[in-house]
Each structure stands twice: as C-alpha cells, then as structure tokens.
C-alpha cells in the first residue's frame, strides 16, 4: 500500500522545468499582440497618473489631503507595475500570496510608528 502505483509523468518531477520551463515562457503571436496592447495601456495609465501628480503638486496646497492623494496614486501605480509589468497577476495564487502577505509587516510597521510616534508628537492617535 505504501508503494502506491502511479503513472510516469504524474509527479511531474523531471528536471525539464529548470532547463525548459513551459509555464509562462512561451506564447504565440496572437497572444503576444494582446500582451503588447496591455503593456502600452498600462504605460499610458502610469504616464497619466504621474502627469496628474504634477498638476496636483502645483495646484493643491500642502496638507493631509494632498499627501493622502499622492500616496494612493503611488499605490495604484505600484499595483500596475507589479501586476502587469512583473506579471504577478498571471502567477498562481500561492505565489501571489507568498509575495503579498509578508508586505503586511510594512503596514504593521507604519501603524506602529504612527501610534507610538504619538507619544512624542501628540500626533495621530494621541497619548
């Protein structure tokens, strides 16, 4: 029973993946045209967001609202770069989670600094 039978190839443990990986390494011309179109779409989105940031930098006065707007726009740009240019969105779920979940530590760090920082500055959450 311990030696369960399996057909060759079922385990897919041959080393070919390291010399000739088939996953996400080849596609045909039709799919390529689709990919290229998406790349240029993302380029224009990134370009437009950056241009808008410049407008805001000179039109909107300094303050919390402006800073939050800038940070949100930055996160949107970052998401497009990671999802499309680094094509993380085409990877399997387990890889996406492996990369994204540890980044929660950064959020934790930010919250910790904002909360503890209030001890000195009487800032965001007060003390």
């Amino acid at each position: 029973m311990a030696n369960a039978q399996h057909t060759p190839g079922e385990f897919d443990n041959d080393q070919s993946a390291y010399t000739h990986p088939d996953i996400h390494t080849h596609h045909d011309e039709a799919h390529g045209a689709h990919v290229r179109k998406n790349i240029w779409r993302v380029f224009w989105i990134l370009f437009a967001i950056t241009a808008l940031e410049f407008v805001i930098a000179f039109v909107v006065g300094r303050g919390l609202f402006r800073n939050v707007t800038f940070i949100l726009m930055t996160v949107v740009k970052a998401a497009y770069i990671v999802a499309v240019f680094m094509h993380l969105k085409d990877e399997v779920k387990s890889l996406i989670f492996t990369i994204m979940i540890p980044l929660l530590f950064v959020i934790w760090f930010i919250l910790a600094l904002l909360i503890e920082g209030g001890f000195y500055q009487g800032g965001w959450f007060g003390y």
Binding site: A2, A4, H6, E10, F11, D12, N13, A17, Y18, T19, H20, P21, I23, H24, T25, H26, H27, D28, E29, G32, V35, R36, I39, W40, F43, L46, F47, T50, E53, F54, A57, N67, F70, I71, M73, T74, K77, A78, I81, V82, V84, F85, M86, E91, V92, S94, L95, T98, I99, P102, L103, F105, V106, F109, I110, L113, G117, Y120, Q121, G123
Partner: protein
Amino acid sequence: MSEVRTAIDSTWVGGRKPFKASYGKLMMWFFLLSDAFSFSTLLLVYGVIRFSSPVPWADPETVYTHFPGLYEWFHIDAPLAFVGLMTFILIASSVTMVLAVEAGHRMDRKNVEKYMAWTLVGGFAFLACQAYEWYHFIIGTHGELFHGSIHLLDGTVATAMAEGVQDGGVVVMNGANQGLNLLTATSAQLQELVPPEMLTATGALDVGAASEAAISGAGLKLNQYAQNPSFANLFFFITGFHGTHVASGVLLNYIIYKQVCNGVMEKRGHYEMVEKVGLYWHFVDLVWVFVFTFFYLI
C-alpha cells in the same frame, strides 16, 4: 488506497512545482521581497525623521529646480521638471524591458535585442540624470542667503527666514541669542556675533557679504536647503541606494543582452533569463515611484 492517492494528488507533497515557476524566478521574487523591506524601512525612517524634525523641512519645489540647458543658458528655474523627466525615462525603460520579455516568449530574438538595447539606453540616461541632479544638489545656488546660514562668532548659526532676507530677517537659530534678528539687532550685539567682514561701515549687517559667506549646496553636516542636516543625508542615502540598484540593474541587463546577442538563449530554447532580470528592473522602477512621491511630491 484512496487516502494515499489523495496525498499524491495534493499539491504540496513533493515532486511537483506548486508555484509553477522555476527555481531562479522564485529566488528572484524572494530577493525582491526582502529588498522591498529594505526600501520600506528606509522610506519610513525618512518619514519619522522628517515629521519629528524640530525645524522646518526643505520644500522640494525650491530645491530641485535645475533643468539641463534651461538653468545653464537661460537661468530659468523649472521646479520638479527634471525629476519628472527622470520618472518618465524609468517608466519608459520599464516598458521596453517588458516588451523584450514578451518578444522572448515568441522566441523573437531580434526584438529581444532591440528592446533590451533600449532598456540599457534608458538605464544609462537615468544614471546620467541622477549624476546631474546630485551635482547641482551638492553645489547649490552659490552665495544665496535665501535658505543659507551664517556662522556666528559664538559658534551658533543665523539663518534667513523662509520669506527671505528682506521680509523675514536673519535670525539666530540657537544658543544664548536664539531668536535675535540680525537686521534689527543693535550694533553692539552685531559686533559680538557677526564676523567683522560681514558688517558695513556703519555697523549694520552687510547682506551682500553675508550672502557670500552663507552655506551653499548640501554637505553631510550643513546644507542650504534645510536646517536639519538629515534632509541632505537621507537624500544622499536613499537616492544613492536606489541609484546603486539602477547601476547594478544596467550591468545585469548588459550581461543578459550580450548573451542574447551571442545566441545563448536561442540555444537554451527559452528567454527566461530576460524575464528574471526584467523582474529586477521593474522593481527598480517600482522603488523609484515611491522615492519620487516621498522625496519630491510630499
């Protein structure tokens, strides 16, 4: 029997590739994740130091105003224009990189070469821009007291207020005379504090001479832009750390570009190496997006 089958069929028992990615690509992702922590920490430290600074922080719009040509030939200030160009260059080089990866998926060697070459051009252009920016940041605008400081005889410094010499005055920043405005100070006070060469014949502050002696540009201890030296230090460290990443990215891209040109990838049957250096290059672009926001916009 069925239990054993279930174990074999499950993804994580071994013998399978649960991430459906090669070893090299996974390791690149893990490295980039760790690098993301480094940059996050650096930028958070920037935030902590900036917002806990007891003295006003520099205003980016008045610091980064040099645009090649406009500044040298026409003496025109173009706030943030040059950094906008740098951002555009890096995003564009990211696009050519991802186009090279796409061409690699079609085994289209000619286009991989073309787009990798453009990516290299973009990388070099960005580094050249950064060199120009650092140069002007360090040299500064000479002899201007607008954000400069004068070293006083008692070891403290006096600094022009934000509105400039005429409007806000030149105020002693620390020590026993803190808060004293040199433009309205008595000549007895001035004689004790200000070096004689910065005084006029009548004993008043010679703004022209004082401006000559004022600090210009940025050093590690003092800079003309902000009284807090951390401003320049953090700029040097974080943009320098990013610039180092760009430089090593250019080197990696060049090595892979040469291999593509030599037909190494064609022989191998896939262009996955282009994809791996591509991940690194996009990460460099990603970091710049954050550096741009926190250093130049906020």
